[in-house]
Symmetry: C2
Subunit: 336 residues, 2 copies
DNA sequence: CTGAAAGCGCTTACAG
DNA sequence: CTGAAAGCGCTTACAG
C-alpha cells in the first residue's frame, strides 16, 4: 500500500499539503492540488482510514443497527442507507442484534464503542432506557427509524395516518364490514406499530360512523403465513366481511392466498389492502400504503451525514412520506 | 471515552501490560491480568479500533460485498456472515455494489483499499479480471461464495449435483414429462448458476433415459413473477407436463401460483420443486433442495477469520452441503 | 513477566 | 498558501 509520503515526494510537496489537497480541508494552491491529485492517482493512493481516523477523529463510517436482515422491509431500508452512504463516500458497518440478549448487550457495550463509526442509525429497534443511554453516551449523531422516541432524533411515519388512509380508502369503496389483521402483543413493544395502526383503523371506522366489532380484529406475526391463518379465522367467523386491512403487506399477501383457497375472488368478494410497499405487492396486485422503506434509509443516512458535516444541530425531521398505491386487490363492495 | 492510560493507572501497570492483558497476546501474570480486567470493566473501557488497528495492522473487521440486499438469498447469507463474525468479535462492513458501474468501480478502487478491513467476502459476485486482481492486490484473505473461481478461494455448491438431485427425485416419483424453469442469459454471467443447474437437469434426464425436449425449458429471472410467467408458458405449450423443476424457490413459488390459477392441483396434477431453502417454502409447502444460505455465510466468515488467526494457509474448502427437503408440492405422477 | 519508547500513517494547529 | 512537528491511542520489539 502506498503511503502519503510517496505521494508527497512525487508531487513535490509536504505530507501536510497532500492531506489538505485530498481532504479539501484548508488552503491549497491550484497547482499544488493538481500535482497532488495526479500523484495520488498515479500511485493509486487511498488514504488509510485507520491512520486518518486516529488523527482526525473522523472515520467516515456509519454504524447501522438492525433487528433482522432477512425481512424485506429491513433489507430495503438497509439498501437505502447503503446507497446514500456510498454516494457520500461513507462506509457502513452493520450490527444485526438478532434476538440473542447477549449479542445485543455486546453490541451496545462493546461493538459500538470501538470508535469505528461516526454516527449510528437504529432501524426499527425498540431501545430500552439503558440502550438509549449508551447510544447517547457515544457522543455522536444517532438517528432512529421507525417510531417516535422521546430522547432520540427519529424518522417516523405517522402510523395512525397510514392506517386511516388505508381504512378510509376501503370505506370510500363502500365497505363497512372491514376486518383488520394486526399483530400480537409480542410485536407491539417499542414503537407499538401494531397498536398505532389499529388505532388508525378504529378512528377511521369511527369517523365514518361504522360500529366497531372487536371480533373483526385478528392477530398475526407480520408474516405471509401468519396473515394467511388470521385471514382464515376472519373468514370463518365473519363470512360477511367484504374487506380486510392487514397491518403489513406480507400479511395481506397471506390473506389474498387464504381468500383464493376458499374460492373467494379478490376483490369481487373480498377487498384486501396492506401496508409497506413490499416488492411482491405488484405481483399479487396488492393495493397498499407504500412507506418507501428504501427512501427511509436514504433519508436517515443523509441526515446523519449532514450532522457530521456540521450543518448545525439536528433538524427535527419531517414525518416520512407514505402513499396509497391502488392495484387490483381492492374494489367496490359487492352489491348483493 | 476512557483511554488505555486510565486503565493502566487504575490497575497499577503500564499500558503495555494493559494491551497484553486485553488482547491475550504476550505474557501477563495472572494477578496483573485480573487487575487490568477489573479496571477495564470498572471504567467501561473498550479498545479504540482506530488506534489499535493503526498500531497492529489488524482491524477485526471484515468487508462483505453483495450484489443485492433485498433478495432473500443474499440477506440470509449476510445474516450468517454477521452472526459468525460477531461471535468472534468481528465487525462487518458492507459494500452493496448494486448495478451502477461507477459505484462498483468505486468499491474496488477506493472503499476496499481504505485499510478498513482485514479480509473480504464476496457473495455471488461475478468478478472480472480487473476486479479479481484488485482483490488479490489487497493482500488479505479473500473468500468468494457461489461458484468456482480460478484465482480465488471459493465456497461453492455443486450446482449440477443439486439439479440432479431435484430432477432425480421427480423421476423417482414416476415423472417423465418434466419441464424446467431456468434463467435468461443475463443471469448466467459469472458463476453460470442457471447453466449449471440446467446441465444437471439434463444429465439426470439422460441418465434415466428420458428424451430431452428443448421446449421443456423456459427462462425467467429468479423472481416469483418471472417464475409465474414461465410456468404459464410451460402449461400453455405442454399441457402434458406433470412436473416442473424451477431453478430457484422464488420461481417455484411463482409456478405453484400459476398452477393454482389454472385450477391445477399441486401435486396431484403438477409436481413442483425448487432450489434454495427460501423462508416462504414452508408456507407454500414447497419441496426444495435446501442450500442453507445462512450456513454458507457462517462458513465463509469462519474461514476468513481462521485465516486471519494465522491458522495456516487457506484450506481448500469442502463443497457446500445441500439437502432435499420434501414437502407437499411434489407427489407421484398421476396415473391417468 | 514487565515497562520505556518507538512507531503505525495520517491531520492540524502553529509559525511563517 | 506551505511545511515542520506534535499528537491521535494504541501495539510490540527490545531490554531487563
Amino acid at each position: 500500500m502506498t503511503s502519503i509520503d510517496e505521494v508527497a515526494r512525487l508531487a513535490g510537496v509536504s505530507t501536510a499539503t497532500v492531506s489538505r489537497a485530498l481532504s479539501g480541508r484548508g488552503q491549497v494552491s491550484a497547482s499544488a492540488r493538481e500535482r497532488v491529485l495526479a500523484a495520488a492517482s498515479d500511485l493509486g493512493y487511498v488514504v488509510s482510514s485507520r491512520a486518518s481516523s486516529l488523527a482526525s477523529g473522523r472515520t467516515r463510517n456509519i454504524g447501522v443497527i438492525v433487528p433482522f436482515l432477512d425481512r424485506w422491509f429491513f433489507s430495503a431500508v438497509l439498501s437505502g442507507v447503503s446507497a446514500a452512504a456510498m454516494r457520500q463516500g461513507y462506509d457502513i458497518t452493520l450490527y444485526n442484534i438478532t434476538t440473542d440478549r447477549d449479542v445485543r448487550r455486546e453490541v451496545f457495550d462493546t461493538f459500538l464503542r470501538r470508535q469505528r463509526v461516526d454516527a449510528v442509525i437504529a432501524v426499527s429497534i425498540k431501545l430500552d432506557d439503558d440502550e438509549t443511554q449508551r447510544l447517547l453516551d457515544l457522543g455522536m449523531p444517532v438517528v432512529a427509524i421507525g417510531g417516535p422516541h422521546p430522547r432520540l432524533e427519529t424518522f417516523t411515519v405517522d402510523e395512525e395516518a397510514v392506517a386511516q388512509l388505508a381504512t378510509t380508502y376501503l370505506i370510500s369503496l363502500g365497505h363497512s364490514d372491514i376486518a383488520h389483521i394486526s399483530a400480537s402483543p409480542a410485536f407491539d413493544t417499542g414503537f407499538r406499530v401494531p397498536s398505532r395502526r389499529r388505532a388508525g383503523f378504529e378512528q377511521a371506522l369511527a369517523a365514518a360512523g361504522i360500529a366497531q366489532d372487536p371480533a373483526l380484529i385478528e392477530l398475526a406475526d407480520f408474516t405471509v403465513e401468519g396473515g394467511h391463518r388470521a385471514a382464515a379465522r376472519i373468514l370463518d367467523r365473519m363470512p360477511g366481511a367484504t374487506a380486510i386491512f392487514a397491518a403489513s403487506d406480507e400479511m395481506a399477501i397471506g390473506a389474498i392466498l387464504a381468500a383464493r383457497e376458499r374460492g373467494l375472488r379478490v376483490p369481487e368478494d373480498l377487498s384486501i389492502i396492506g401496508v409497506d410497499g413490499h416488492e411482491l405487492g405488484a405481483f399479487f396486485g396488492l393495493t397498499t400504503v407504500d412507506q418507501f422503506p428504501l427512501r427511509q434509509g436514504e433519508r436517515a443516512a443523509d441526515a446523519v451525514i449532514r450532522q457530521l458535516s456540521g450543518a448545525g444541530a439536528a433538524a427535527v425531521p419531517s414525518p416520512l412520506p407514505f402513499e396509497l398505491t391502488v392495484r387490483g386487490s381492492t374494489g367496490r363492495v359487492r352489491s348483493d
